[in-house]
């Protein structure tokens, strides 16, 4: 079986509590799961302000700012894609068949900030 482990948190608190994980710790854990042979994919996401929602209704694509899924909508699947920029990602998202009945939230993946690797991502 494959399982998807979804990380939810209050973004305001995720990086500010005494118990908050640091990026090094997150990376170390991901590596440990990888070493055990069980990691398929894992990424941190950029903050919710970077989210864009795509819907296709009666053949017309609408693009809106924000992660505004309807409260009735539940997570049904995911695509992780490599795209040149947001426009290309949005075009791919609009092609996902479920976009005709649901919403596709498009959010950039965030590079973990680990000093040794000098990654250029931003804080979440």
């Amino acid at each position: 079986m494959k399982y998807l482990c979804l990380v939810y948190s209050d973004e305001e608190l995720l990086h500010s509590l005494p118990e908050s994980p640091r990026d090094e710790e997150c990376l170390a854990y991901a590596e440990s799961v990888q070493e055990s042979g069980r990691l398929v994919a894992g990424e941190a996401l950029a903050p919710v302000q970077t989210a864009t929602t795509v819907r296709v209704r009666t053949g017309k694509t609408t693009i809106t700012d924000g992660p505004f899924a309807e409260t009735k909508e539940q997570l049904a699947g995911f695509y992780m894609v490599e795209a040149r920029d947001l426009n290309e990602a949005l075009t791919i998202a609009a092609g996902i068949p479920a976009a005709r009945v649901g919403s596709i939230e498009v959010r950039p993946v965030r590079e973990l900030e680990v000093p040794a690797r000098s990654a250029a991502g931003e804080r979440g």
Binding site: T52, T61, G66, A89, P108
Partner: protein
């Protein structure tokens, strides 16, 4: 230090800074870095041009200077952040093959790239407008706040967040593909019209009309029409031309507004009106009539009427009825109320204006009170007219408009006031009823 060179730098800043910025954003890939670079480039011009003379191609010089200054900045920051150094090296090598900054077409493309990036639908609509007015038109957050009927801090926050999203979500600096263009157009049109309006009726400051911005809006409209001959682009350009054609007649030498009734219609630019008419015809012929085309049709009826009395208020009201359906907005409803007052009498108009004010959306909108004051005057209710003029005055920050309102207040009781100029959408009518004399008269004001 040459005053002449300083005046020239100022003029070039006014004329070229937004174009230079648009190109710098393409080179540097970052709004804030490009803004700093623009500032540095003009500082360098002020320093060097008086000594070394003004370069042949000032814009190209400024773009080049800005780029080098940005690379310097990144190298200085590289002491603290290695990634900035890598970026500096990349930028240092990038310009080959990126085009000549003096190439006018490339520069115009940069402005369009900037427009479509600022108007990207992944940004909130309010941020699209704020960002465009700030980046493309160089307006201050205060000016934008007035155009939006909101506070400067709110606007500043919208701009900061929008830039962050452009950077962090990877919104590209490009004109959309033809397949996406029409969907992306709607927000661009609304932004251009706001730009034009900021020029047509400036919300703050000493002058009521600022021709450069209105011309900028029209220029952006023409540019967009070249790229995309969409009926609503025609409608918007027609609307702007039909307004602009009458701009000179709208203010006196002191900059105070002249009522529509008193405007010298001989000053109206017939060539511009004809061009607007032609575009309007093309837009209607397409069979797709949108909100801008409807507004242009209303303004065309004003522009072609020989006088206020001979204006077809029934057709204007009918067009407003359709427009309120197509594009609901309290300001359009206010304009409709004034048109109804012209068709059916001031009482009918006043009832609509009061109902609008009661809904709360226009309580901070000065022209709603000015319209109310006018209608009260026409009904002979000078007491309520004075109250409404004072409310309008307390909300107006535009000096000529304040002078106009103060004069109205002073005259009240002697002369019955007439029309107002409703800012963002349209012109409003003039009354035709004869003056009433009230007991208190001007003495009590």
């Amino acid at each position: 230090m040459s005053a002449r060179v300083h005046a020239l730098v100022e003029r070039i800043y006014r004329d070229e800074s937004r174009r230079v910025l648009a190109t710098l954003i393409r080179y540097l890939g970052d709004f804030d870095l490009a803004e700093e670079a623009l500032h540095d480039a003009f500082m360098a011009a002020v320093d060097q041009w008086p000594r070394e003379g003004v370069p042949d191609k000032p814009r190209a010089w400024l773009v080049s200077a800005g780029r080098f200054k940005a690379i310097d900045r990144l190298r200085r920051r590289a002491r603290f952040d290695a990634s900035q150094g890598a970026l500096a090296e990349r930028l240092d090598e990038a310009p080959r093959g990126m085009g000549d900054p003096a190439d006018i077409e490339a520069v115009e493309d940069d402005r369009l790239r900037l427009i479509f990036t600022c108007c990207h639908p992944a940004l909130p609509a309010s941020a699209q407008v704020a960002l465009t007015l700030r980046e493309i038109c160089g307006l201050t957050t205060e000016q934008i706040a007035h155009a939006f009927l909101t506070r400067p801090t709110t606007v500043a926050q919208r701009i900061v967040r929008a830039k962050a999203k452009i950077r962090d979500a990877g919104i590209p600096y490009q004109v959309p593909e033809a397949t996406e263009l029409s969907e992306r157009l709607e927000s661009v049109l609304s932004v251009i019209y706001l730009v034009f309006n900021e020029g047509y009726v400036a919300s703050v400051g000493e002058r009521m009309t600022r021709g450069e911005l209105a011309e900028e809006g029209i220029r952006l409209g023409r540019l967009l029409l070249d790229l995309l001959p969409d009926p609503e682009v025609m409608g918007l350009l027609a609307l702007m031309l039909l307004h602009e054609a009458r701009r000179v007649s709208r203010t006196d030498v002191a900059g105070e507004p002249i009522l529509l009734r008193d405007q010298d219609r001989g000053l109206w630019n017939r060539t511009m009106i004809a061009e607007g008419r032609t575009l309007l015809g093309r837009a209607f012929a397409s069979g797709e009539v949108g909100a801008y085309t409807l507004q242009a049709a209303i303004v065309a009826l004003h522009a072609e009427a020989a006088s206020v009395e001979q204006t077809d208020w029934s057709r204007i009201t009918g067009l407003y009825d359709v427009l309120v359906q197509a594009s609901p907005s309290p300001i359009i409803e206010l304009n409709r109320a004034v048109a109804v007052a012209m068709r059916d009498g001031p009482e009918a108009g006043l009832a609509l204006v009061d109902a609008l004010l009661a809904r709360g959306e226009l309580v901070d909108y000065r022209l709603a009170y000015a319209a109310r004051a006018d209608l009260c005057c026409r009904l002979g209710d000078n007491e309520r007219a004075r109250v409404a003029y004072r409310q309008a005055l307390s909300l107006s920050e535009q000096l000529p408009e304040r002078a106009f309102l103060e004069r109205r207040l002073a005259e009240l009781g002697d002369i019955v006031a007439s029309e107002n100029i409703v800012a963002s959408e349209n012109i409003v009518a003039s009354e035709t009823t004869p003056p009433h004399r009230e007991e208190g008269g001007a003495a009590s004001s």
